[in-house]
């Protein structure tokens, strides 16, 4: 069974239809990349999958783990194992990253009928996961508005999602930050989880090598292929698709 199955998904924001019928299947163990020019609907797709308010789904269905994703509120999607790595950092004054992650981890554990982690277990988990994705722990006690690359990757490691969506997480990152993200994702790839990498540029895909590449254009997937499709796009530009 597919982990994520999107059928004829149409969505609008402010009365403007952005997605005109998306079809996509992601199986466990796969990494998919979605590329496309600005305004093609990439971020809308990520937002609709995560359940961001303001978007209205007008047609189609999305099954996640065989369940109707579109009926779930955003926090339930997260607890079911959907993780969205954000494009822009969110600042929450006075809330430390550790505190935020602890709340998140324990909410997800509660949903899975597990006991909440106590302080000791939580600290060992932090150490283990930070080592796994090779991130220094020093940033953890700062407020949330820290370097997004390390933060989002670390949160991903802590929450251990079954499907992680990276919504242009690479935009604005320098090469070091890009490597942190890519390295973290690669360390987390297993045969029972999946990644959906949304990006405008091919360079991230040098580090996170996808199994499949899809090109999104004007709210539709117009081309799908293997990792070589990304290179072809890089070479020929998006104009090649538009013809």
């Amino acid at each position: 069974m597919a982990l994520l199955s999107i059928k004829n998904l149409k969505a609008k924001i402010n009365e403007t239809e952005i997605l005109h019928g998306i079809n996509l299947e992601i199986n466990p163990g796969e990494t998919h990349a979605i590329m496309g020019p600005n305004g093609s609907g990439k971020s809308t797709l990520a937002s609709v999958l995560a359940g961001k308010p303001g978007y209205e789904v007008t047609d189609g269905e999305v099954l996640f783990n065989g369940k109707n994703l579109l009926e779930m509120p955003p926090e339930v999607r997260a607890r079911e194992g959907m993780f969205l790595a954000f494009q822009y950092p969110v600042e929450i004054p006075g809330v430390s990253n550790t505190n935020l992650i602890k709340s998140a981890v324990n909410e997800i554990r509660k949903y899975r009928n597990l006991e909440p982690l106590d302080a000791f277990d939580f600290i060992s988990m932090i150490k283990e996961k930070a080592a796994m994705v090779e991130i220094e722990q020093s940033f953890l006690n700062r407020s949330v508005n820290l370097s997004i690359s390390s933060n989002e990757v670390f949160q991903m490691a802590m929450l251990d999602p079954v499907l992680a969506v990276l919504d242009e997480t690479d935009s604005g990152l320098d090469i070091d930050a890009l490597r942190i993200v890519a390295n973290g994702v690669n360390k987390l790839r297993r045969n029972d989880n999946a990644f959906l990498v949304i990006t405008h540029y091919q360079r991230l895909l040098n580090y996170i090598v996808p199994d499949y590449v899809h090109v999104l254009y004007k709210g539709r997937i117009v081309k799908s292929g293997g990792k070589e499709l990304a290179l072809e796009l890089e070479e020929k530009g998006y104009d090649w698709i538009k013809d």
Binding site: G51, P73, P74, R77, V90, P93, G94, S96, L100, Y111
Partner: protein, 481 residues
Amino acid sequence: MEENNNILDNIAESEYKYGFVSNIEQELAPKGLNEDVIRFISAKKNEPSFLLEWRLRAFRHWQKMKEPNWAKVKYPPIDYQDIHYYAAPKNFNKYKSLDEVDPEILRTYEKLGIPLEEQKRLAGVAVDAVLDSVSVATTFKEKLNELGIIFCPISEAVHTHPELVEKYLGSVVPYTDNYFAALNSAVFSDGSFVYVPKGVRCPMELSTYFRINASSTGQFERTLIIADEGSYVSYLEGCTAPMRDENQLHAAVVELIAHKNAEIKYSTVQNWYPGDKEGKGGIYNFVTKRGLCEGENSKISWTQVETGSAITWKYPSCVLKGDNSVGEFYSVALTNNFQQADTGTKMIHLGKNTKSRIVSKGISAGRSDNSYRGLVKISKKADGARNFSQCDSLLLGDKCGAHTFPYIEVANKTAIVEHEATTSKISEDIIFYLNQRGISTEDAVALIVHGYAKEVLNNLPMEFAVEAKKLLSVSLEGSVG
């Protein structure tokens, strides 16, 4: 957008969880206020003549005063002749143990989650429980006695330590101070009295739980805390009240005196009935709280978490008279539905090198109005005085209001006064971000609010901080989903 606005509306609609009335036989003064009623109250308490005379002087002064109207709060006129000024549990006796206390009263405490036994055993907190106007249970008294610390109802102190009461009562807040202070001085029923002798560090948090429990009864607490030279005391005040329709007047006075090298820490968690979602009912809370840093190097610190009352009019203040004395004010004021809060502080710098610090965190939800009003006054002789003020406002939704009225008066060139203020809104983006991490909107709001108020909550004693955090969450709880 719309959906999130609805969510914020829902959060703003949480029910008051402590609304119930317990039946304890009351003894009421007749409604209304005149010299006879004051004589009745004084006689009931078998008071010495100096106190009766003082009450009568206060009453005569009050009659000449006008109710203040400068605060940013609105309420229908109060009929001061339609209020009972005295209510006491009948057959009031001094209880030596909890067994002798009316089981109904004990059940009331249990419903509020304040088991006296538990507190005695676990927290090391001595509880002087004030139910309506008369203290019914005082614990840990013996241990405090050994150290020479006096912690008792003020009505008792009047008999056991009249010289201290006569010396200090009204010395920080004279009855001429303001309308509500004058009223309180005339009719105060009871409250706490604390005296910590020279060089003694009070080993436990002293705690009083107030509870308004009689229909149409004004509550006029009077608290007096004296820390003699080189002593230290931490005092906790917390309260909840039963749900009812009529507005209830509360006009308390708290006076603190810190002598040379002494420190007083006064913490409040206030959760009186705020009125229902339509703004009906709720407590009117007109409080005068002031501390006098009398001696050199003395320190007074106010920490308050205000979530209740329909109207809050409250400015815990410090008069920094002693050189090098320090005043602090840490406040979280949360308003929801139709609540109105006009609260803040006054820091009056008189002595040299006096320091004050103000941290005020307002949280407004629903259709409420939340104002910070603060005065920093540096007098001519206060060389080297220093003040730092931080006033932040957090808005939930777009129907509430937050206002800041800072008043700064500086008469000495060497003073340094700083004021910082911010206003922020819980944005949909932040809520969505936390939702996407598996945290529900309700918990997300709690997380944000706790983070926002952390600097103040951290100043509360441990067990009180836990209670205060719970209270903030409960006050913003709603049917989200």
